[in-house]
């Protein structure tokens, strides 16, 4: 923490804004001091300091590190030697070795077919998520054509981007409010996560996907009826195969209401859903939810992308899932053991390609839509995901960043200085849901424009033509096996 004393006006905004108690005012000497060890580099004080007094620099005074024994590894070891506990972290995997997006490049039309200007010509990015029939039967009645096939319920999204599951309790109510409003305005959906849905947000139900996870928190008939779709959460990319522990101190009065558990009690989500030990059991829960909602809503099943994901996805489709949500190894979280976040699961790019291919090979790709998530950072990632075979994507971190998050990775402390990953009523007020919603809408509008631009450049005017269109992609710096798994050619080929 570097402070330019000549600039500081002792307004104490840094003292008040820091939730980690890094800054304090020494009244005897009329000076503001810092406890550097508390700083998480969230940039809150830097942003709010009216006189640009503060600069946060990486502390170079760390243990001697080398390639294997990084400062992080050594720090974690020391922490565990003191506590004997599991090291928690927040957000998605921060290691560099998993990203394939950056090694995939998009195509564009030159000479042999014309590119399309999305500013002048219609460009279709609306997407319907849900099971599509194997064939449609039509009937003529006089001059009119009637559809005889009964269609499965669908989710209509105006842009192929939805807000991924973030539970109330892990994030503040204002975050849910902003997501709900932005989803409604943009014609897309936000996902409640497993913590239930606050009563005040039921009015956004038409743009809400409600989640049912292993803890079954807040799951009751009204909640199931409130959403446009129901998602069964089997796993998430940041912590495949393990449950979740929302500590009692985060279960405030309002969180307790939506989760339907007593104030201050731990909300423990078991690792598996105890009524799902097989594909047959998954089918049972899918149809239980369909029965509970009179077959009026698509049922999504979310899994973490793991080994054998293609075979698992095939089973999920056969179990009756209308939407398959895949979350890759870079998927984010409010809290997860660091070893799990950084070591378990596979990159989403490989999972999309494999699942899409497998379902096509088995002739059941139409029976479910694929929604991909886990480290989607830009509209280019969205386009690449769709070209690999996804129908749409979920974004979470990108949405949080749009709202103010600076990816300091301390979500698990519940003290988010930006009022996002917290259930503390006082800190939550820092996020203005109106402004946050507006910023989210801006993000989706901007991304949608970019998606249309990229599609137009490729000479594609409907997103259906991009879905699973791997010819639109080329790989760079990839091995032959990687190219084969991704189903793309080497750049230049």
């Amino acid at each position: 923490m570097e402070r330019d004393e000549r600039r500081c006006i002792r307004c104490k905004v840094c003292v008040n804004q820091c939730t980690y108690e890094t800054h304090y005012y020494d009244s005897e000497e009329d000076v503001i001091r810092s406890k550097d060890e508390n700083c998480v580099n969230c940039q809150r004080c830097v942003t709010f300091c009216p006189t640009h007094t503060i600069v946060i620099r990486k502390n170079t005074n760390v243990n001697r590190e080398n390639v294997n024994w990084t400062a992080e590894a050594v720090r974690d070891l020391k922490k565990q030697a003191e506590s004997g506990a599991v090291i928690l972290t927040g957000m998605g995997c921060d290691k560099p070795h998993f990203t394939y997006w950056d090694r995939l490049l998009l195509n564009a039309s030159q000479v042999t077919n014309p590119s399309i200007d999305p500013l002048r010509e219609p460009m279709e990015i609306r997407t319907y998520l849900g099971a599509k029939p194997d064939k449609v039967e039509l009937e003529t009645e006089g001059s009119r054509l009637l559809l005889r096939t009964v269609l499965a319920p669908q989710l209509c999204i105006e842009t192929p981007i939805m807000f991924s599951a973030m539970s109330y309790g892990a994030v503040s109510l204002n975050v849910h409010k902003a997501l709900a409003r932005a989803a409604t305005e943009c014609g897309t959906y936000f996902n409640t996560g497993e913590g239930g849905l606050d009563q005040s947000l039921y009015k956004y139900g038409k743009h809400t996907i409600v989640q049912v996870a292993s803890g079954r928190f807040g799951v009751h008939p009204k909640y199931l009826d409130a959403g446009a779709a129901i998602e069964i959460k089997i796993g998430q990319g940041a912590k495949p195969g393990i449950g979740g522990h929302l500590p009692g101190e985060k279960v405030t009065k309002n969180v307790s209401k939506t989760r339907m558990i007593p104030i201050g009690s731990d909300a423990l989500s078991p690792a598996p859903q105890h009524d799902i030990y097989s594909i047959e059991d998954l089918r049972q829960l899918i149809y239980a939810l369909k029965e509970a909602t009179s077959y009026s809503k698509p049922i999504s099943v979310k899994i973490a992308a793991v080994h054998n994901v293609a075979a698992i996805a095939s089973g999920m489709v056969r179990a009756g899932a209308d939407i398959i949500a895949l979350d890759g190894v870079r998927g984010s979280t409010g809290a997860a053991p660091k070893v799990i976040r950084d070591n378990v699961g596979i990159p989403i790019e490989l999972a999309i390609a494999q699942v899409d291919q497998r379902l096509r090979d088995e002739g059941i790709r139409n029976r479910a839509s694929i929604v991909a998530s886990g480290g989607i950072r830009s509209s280019a990632d969205v386009v690449k995901a769709i070209a690999l075979g996804a129908d749409a994507v979920y974004v979470a971190t990108a949405a949080l960043v749009a709202m103010g998050c600076t990816v300091c990775q301390k979500c698990y402390t519940g003290k988010c200085p930006w009022g996002i990953a917290t259930s503390d009523a006082w800190i939550s007020k820092r996020l203005n849901p109106d402004i946050a919603a507006e910023r989210l809408v801006n993000l989706l509008v901007g991304w949608s424009l970019e998606i249309k631009d990229m599609m137009g450049g490729m000479g594609i005017n409907a997103i259906e033509s991009l879905r699973g269109n791997r010819l639109a992609l080329r790989g760079v710096g990839l091995t032959e096996t990687e190219l084969k798994i991704l189903g793309v050619k080497m750049a230049g080929d």
Partner: protein
């Protein structure tokens, strides 16, 4: 008669043939019916104002009682399939027969009385309502039961339970009477109450080898009052002798800590 017309409108002839009326009781013959048809019939009857249902010849149909009006009274004859009363919000179901797995799964409100035994996962994640099982139950029963405000689920089991009983239990009351144990002093269930962080288990006799993090004590006066109320209701349904059940010492099992995993993370 208006009601009858609505039923006629919504059900085709094949299904309509399965329904008959005896006074205010609607009788459905479920023999050979697929669960989706049966549940559709029940929903239509429910919507058209039926309050009492009797379903005969039930054989493995799933999800009975899901998505029905809260004031329904349903009597089942036969063996209902998995997820009986899943997500249920109020109906009162009485089963003359055994039930399969996940009966009362994530139930919010209502009553299930089983004149027989019940499979795995009975009362899984239930938040409210009551379940009475005359005989024994399967594995993973009462996993993650929870309570909220005035919702306090009760699960009363006349027989014994299998492994993983009340795992992750967060609230509510589970009573194991062990009436069919004969002379054996212990129930063979392993891992009872692992991860339990709320609620209470009452047992008739000290029948469990406990999982980690639990404590056991003799039931106190207040506990006995709770047990008596439930046992009286149990005897009312199944005709057991109240005094015979209550003559044995009851024990109370609770978690040592409401936050068993508090120190797990750093």
């Amino acid at each position: 008669m208006l009601q009858q017309e609505r039923i006629d409108l919504e059900l085709d002839e094949n299904l309509l043939r399965k329904v008959s009326v005896d006074g205010e009781i609607y009788i459905v013959n479920a023999e050979g019916m697929y669960y989706r048809e049966l549940n559709r019939v029940l929903r239509v009857l429910c919507r058209s104002g039926a309050k009492k249902l009797e379903i005969q010849g039930v054989c493995g149909q799933r999800y009975i009682g899901t998505d029905l009006d809260s004031t329904m009274q349903i009597v089942l004859h036969g063996t209902p399939g998995n997820d009986l009363g899943a997500f249920m919000n109020g109906p009162q179901i009485s089963v003359h027969g055994n039930v399969q797995d996940a009966c009362g799964n994530t139930m919010n409100e209502g009553l299930i009385v089983v004149h027989g035994c019940s499979g795995d996962l009975t009362g899984h994640s239930m938040r409210g309502g009551k379940i009475f099982i005359r005989d024994g139950v399967g594995y993973r029963v009462g996993v993650h039961m929870k309570e909220y405000q005035n919702k306090k689920p009760a699960l009363v089991i006349g027989g014994v339970v299998q492994d993983f009983f009340a795992e992750y239990m967060a609230g509510g009351v589970a009573v194991v009477l062990g009436l069919d144990m004969g002379v054996s002093p212990k129930c063979t269930a392993r891992f009872v109450g692992t991860g339990m962080h709320g609620g209470v288990i009452y047992t008739r006799g000290e029948i469990f080898k406990l999982g980690k993090g639990l404590k056991i004590a003799k039931a106190g006066k207040r506990d006995i009052r709770v047990i008596e109320t439930l046992v009286r209701e149990f005897c009312g349904y199944f005709g057991n002798s109240f005094s015979e059940i209550m003559c044995k010492q009851f024990y109370k099992i609770t978690p040592v800590s409401k936050r068993p995993y508090e120190k797990l993370y750093t």
